[in-house]
Structure formats: structure tokens, C-alpha cells
């Protein structure tokens, strides 16, 4: 055991058991939240599908609300779709256009502003989609 410890770099911890214990603790906390949530607040709605009756307020699930709201507020459907496509492409290609190697968010203010702005816009569109 003593020999093994010498091989560790300064400040580094072994994946097993140190980090894996943290992961497992997080896993139990997660299960401790998910299971009561599932039991107490189920997403249950058992009204049979009726192709001839359109419900009055039909909305997608929360993670699609922002995309849905963009299509609603942009006058042209093609433009709305194009905006979504560009946004997704920009996110996929993020490491190729944000090539500055500085990682601290405080030392890259322009990017931080863009990132926080985008996240707030996503949240705002989601809330707008929910209550419009």
C-alpha cells in the first residue's frame, strides 16, 4: 500500500475508491429524489387519443417548449426552422469557434456573456412557451 501511494501525483486522487465513492453517494442522493418524485408526482394522463378532437391547449414537453416558441414568434416558418438549425449547429461546433484556450469564465467575458445570454434566452422562451 505504501509503495502505491508514492506513485500518485501531487494533489491527484485515485479514481477508485476516492472519486467512485463521490459518484456513488451522488447516485444514492439522485435515487432518493427520483423515486419519491415518481411516486408522488407521476406524469399520468390517461385520456384516450381522439384524432377527431383537437385539445384546446396542446403544448410539447418542457424541453421542446423553447423550440416550439421560436416557431410561434418568428413570422416565417422556414426562418424559424433555419434559426433552430443554426443554433444547434453552433452548439455542436462550439469547440471549433471558441478556440481561445483560456478556460476561466471570468477571463473570457465576451464568451461568458454570449453563453449566459443564450441560456437565459432558452429559459425565457421555455417560460414564454409555457404561459402563452
Amino acid at each position: 500500500m505504501a509503495k502505491k501511494k508514492e506513485k500518485y501525483e501531487e494533489g491527484a486522487v485515485p479514481f477508485v475508491p476516492v472519486h467512485i465513492m463521490k459518484e456513488m453517494a451522488a447516485a444514492f442522493i439522485f435515487l432518493g429524489i427520483l423515486i419519491p418524485l415518481a411516486i408522488l408526482y407521476p406524469f399520468e394522463e390517461f385520456e384516450p387519443a381522439n384524432p377527431f378532437v383537437t385539445p384546446e391547449h396542446i403544448k410539447p414537453e418542457w424541453y421542446f417548449l423553447a423550440a416550439y416558441q421560436i416557431l410561434k414568434i418568428v413570422p416565417s416558418k422556414v426562418l424559424g426552422l433555419a434559426l433552430q438549425g443554426i443554433a444547434i449547429l453552433a452548439i455542436i461546433l462550439l469547440p471549433f469557434w471558441d478556440t481561445n484556450l483560456e478556460r476561466n469564465p471570468k477571463k473570457r467575458p465576451l464568451f461568458s456573456i454570449i453563453a449566459v445570454g443564450s441560456i437565459l434566452a432558452y429559459i425565457a422562451l421555455t417560460i414564454w412557451g409555457k404561459y402563452s
Binding site: 475508491p17 414537453e61 424541453y63
Partner: protein, 223 residues
């Protein structure tokens, strides 16, 4: 205790002779180092994976009772919720879990964004990660139709209308996704096949790449 130690040693000796077990454990687990600054924020990736495993587990269970036809879909889901032992729990875990997995993947993504962990040399970890989010969302979308309720039917109708605005190929895309002009039984079996086979296999492939790259490059260091 002595007995357990003895059995443990014998088992490891047996595995050592054949597969160099102790060396493998050292190289991949106990001598594998991660940075000391790694805190609770770094657990969201692992939690997303756990959530995915949970969805696979509960999903396989639901598949045993679910019937993918417009006539029987809702009745089979209600049967799971009302009659199958612990069916209510699995059905609820699966539907609530879907929302939670989406949230966890987003949190994981925000953590990586905040730490700038997508930068060189981890560009493709980010790219594969965004694809994992998109696949997760596609899983949620296809799974949402399966109970064949009023919400799922009209949710799928609106969702599949969206690509219709694409120039030239729009109509054809909608037809391809739905399999028919409206949402019908053909759409249901199509979404079912995509939900339980196509997307999970794609997701596992992307997860494999994602994990292998993390293993190779390591978790990002302090900022």
C-alpha cells in the same frame, strides 16, 4: 473475515493466472488518477448515465406488457399501472425518469460549459455529448407517443408538423416520420421501433465513444 479474505485472495489468484487481474485493476481503477479539485458538479455526467441505465431497465420491463397498437396501447399501459405487480412504479419511474434524464444531461452540459472543458483536446467529447443530448430528446419525443393518449397523440402531431416547413423536402420529411398522412398505427409502430431499438443502440454507440475519449484524455484539470 479471514475466510472472506482467503476466498478473495484465491479468486484474485485464479483470475491473475489467466487475465492478469491485479494488474488490470491497478491500471484501470486504483492507480487511475483524477484531479483533486473534482467536486460534486462533476457527478452530473455519471448521473445521466445512471438515469439512462434506469430507463433501459424500466423500459425492458414495460416492453414485456406494452402492446404497440392504437387499439391496445393505452389499455396495456393502464394494465401495467393497475394490475401488474409493481407495474405502477416502473411506469412512473420511466415517465418521470425521462424528464429527469433530460435535466441531468443539460446540467452536465452546463458544467462543461462553465469549466470550458470542451476546449482542446476535448473537442469531440463535446460534439458527441451534444449528439447524446439530441438522442435523449428524440427518445423522449418518440416515447411520448407510445401510451396513445390525447396528449401524446396531439403532441406528436404538432412535433411532426415542424419539419414540414423545410423547403422542398418538407412534405416528404413529415411523411417519412409519420409513415402516413396523419399520426396512425403505422406511426406508432415506427416510433416504437425507433424508441426501443434504433435510438438506444445509437445512444450506446455515442456513449462508448464519449467514455473512451474521457478515459484516454482524462477529466479536465483546474481552470
Amino acid at each position: 473475515m479471514e475466510l472472506i479474505k482467503d476466498i478473495n485472495k484465491k479468486l484474485l489468484d485464479w483470475l491473475d493466472e489467466r487475465y492478469d487481474a491485479r494488474q488490470w485493476i491497478r491500471e484501470n481503477l486504483t492507480d487511475k488518477l483524477v484531479h483533486k479539485h473534482i467536486n460534486w458538479l462533476y457527478c452530473f455526467g455519471g448521473l445521466s448515465f445512471l438515469g439512462f441505465l434506469l430507463q433501459i431497465g424500466t423500459g425492458i420491463f414495460l416492453m414485456m406488457y406494452y402492446i404497440p397498437t392504437p387499439k391496445d396501447a393505452l389499455a396495456s399501459v393502464q394494465n401495467i399501472a393497475n394490475n401488474v405487480p409493481f407495474g405502477w412504479l416502473f411506469q412512473r419511474l420511466h415517465s418521470v425518469g425521462a424528464n429527469v434524464v433530460n435535466l441531468l444531461v443539460m446540467f452536465h452540459m452546463l458544467r462543461v460549459l462553465y469549466h470550458g472543458a470542451y476546449k482542446k483536446p476535448r473537442e469531440f467529447q463535446w460534439v458527441s455529448g451534444v449528439f447524446l443530448l439530441l438522442i435523449t430528446m428524440a427518445m423522449s419525443f418518440t416515447g411520448y407517443l407510445l401510451p396513445w393518449t390525447q396528449l401524446s397523440y396531439w403532441g406528436a402531431t404538432i412535433g411532426t408538423e415542424m419539419p414540414g416547413a423545410t423547403p422542398i423536402v418538407g412534405e416528404w420529411l413529415v411523411q417519412l416520420i409519420r409513415g402516413s398522412a396523419q399520426i396512425t398505427g403505422i406511426t406508432l409502430t415506427r416510433f416504437y421501433a425507433i424508441h426501443v431499438v434504433v435510438l438506444p443502440l445509437t445512444l450506446i454507440a455515442f456513449l462508448g465513444i464519449h467514455f473512451l475519449m474521457i478515459r484516454k484524455v482524462g477529466i479536465s484539470g483546474p481552470m
